[in-house]
Amino acid sequence: MKKTKILVVTVFAAIIGLITIAADHIDAPAVSGSSADITDFYAFEGEDSNNLVFVANVQGLLSPSATTAASFSENVMVEFNIDTNDDKVEDLVIQAIPRDGKMYFFGPYSPTTTGLNSTINEMATKSEVAISSSSAIVANQNGMKFFAGPRDDPFFMDFAQYGEIIGGNATGFNSPGSDTFAGTNVMSIVVEVPKSEIGGSGTINTWVEAKSKQ
């Protein structure tokens, strides 16, 4: 890449304000730093290949000392959305909400309304797990597995150098790079669910939402 091109890119980036935090870390100004601030979302086949695992991480860049004091807000519901017919609208949800030291899970179930506003159907499959501190407490209920609590942030990137590039102070990444997220924690919610309950086969579309009690 020519230097002039770098300058053009840099100026353009500055104009449109491409100041960023990687993955989804802190890109929700309205809820920045709260447990409604999603940092990452993962979905992968479980150790048991009949199952799929969903991971939602919130409240990133926690130092070890900040982790001790971190908690899931009881006003925030984390909702896993599953679209089984490729219309980009959720057909099934799994909802996670904390109460008094436990994380409660509802679903998977078909919600009566979709989109930005959700309610909890208490008649749906209900599970719970005690919120962990440092060692993992795992619950097996209703054919699923559940975890909620602090974990090492699984995300890795030389975000600092990316910022230098976008800011016009560097022309490329370093080799080796430096993991900006090393040594930091997130608040994590992990659910392992049988594939048979979320579409069975084929390809699904999934996304995670953080929703705050009105």
Partner: protein, 184 residues
């Protein structure tokens, strides 16, 4: 620029609704937990770094509160402007990334921010063979995205920008639930 200037928002904690029941033995007290109310969307995420990289700073909250079925129509154009502004790999007509997607098609895919997941086998963002069949913990998603943004048709363009040279996490993942490593 201070990257790590994080504001912590104090959040009021809802109180539990305790309901005593009329037990004769008065040894048991049943707790009724309040799950009522309407929960309003504040943040959402499908694929990694999409909002971060492609949404202009004053639109991030709007993107987070647009349902996926409407994101394409509302944001594809912004994504394309930001992609072509960011990367010289799409400078010429006909330029594509290694998936064969030109700027319009690639941003059309990304603007609808959902993660595609296969229920039939390998789940990975990209492993050299499978593309967008899920996202595993160890996937080097940033390098994959940098390659698709900067790497051109065969991953060879702009090599200094297409790999951050951080290829793995700082802690080992577990093969068993909950898979993520213990906290620091």
């Amino acid at each position: 620029m201070k990257i790590f200037k994080i504001k912590y928002i104090a959040i009021a904690v809802a109180s539990l609704l305790m309901v005593s029941c009329n037990n004769d033995d008065n040894m048991m007290e049943e707790t009724s937990i309040d799950f009522s109310g309407t929960f309003v969307q504040k943040d959402q995420m499908g694929r990694p770094a999409v909002n971060t990289v492609f949404v202009s700073s004053d639109s991030k909250d709007a993107f987070n509160t647009t349902i996926p079925s409407q994101q394409g129509a509302m944001f594809q154009s912004m994504f394309q402007t930001n992609l072509t502004g960011l990367s010289p790999a799409y400078a010429n007509d006909g330029d594509t990334n290694a998936l064969g997607l030109d700027a319009a098609t690639f941003t059309g895919l990304l603007a609808t921010d959902v993660l595609n997941v296969s229920l039939d086998g390998t789940t990975t963002f990209y492993d050299g063979t499978n593309v967008l069949t899920g996202r595993a913990l160890a996937d080097d998603v940033i390098t994959v995205e940098l390659l698709l943004i900067f790497g051109g048709e065969d991953f060879s363009e702009n090599p200094s920008l297409s790999n951050d040279n951080v290829d793995s996490n700082d802690k080992e993942f577990s093969d068993s639930f909950p898979y993520l490593a213990s906290p620091w």
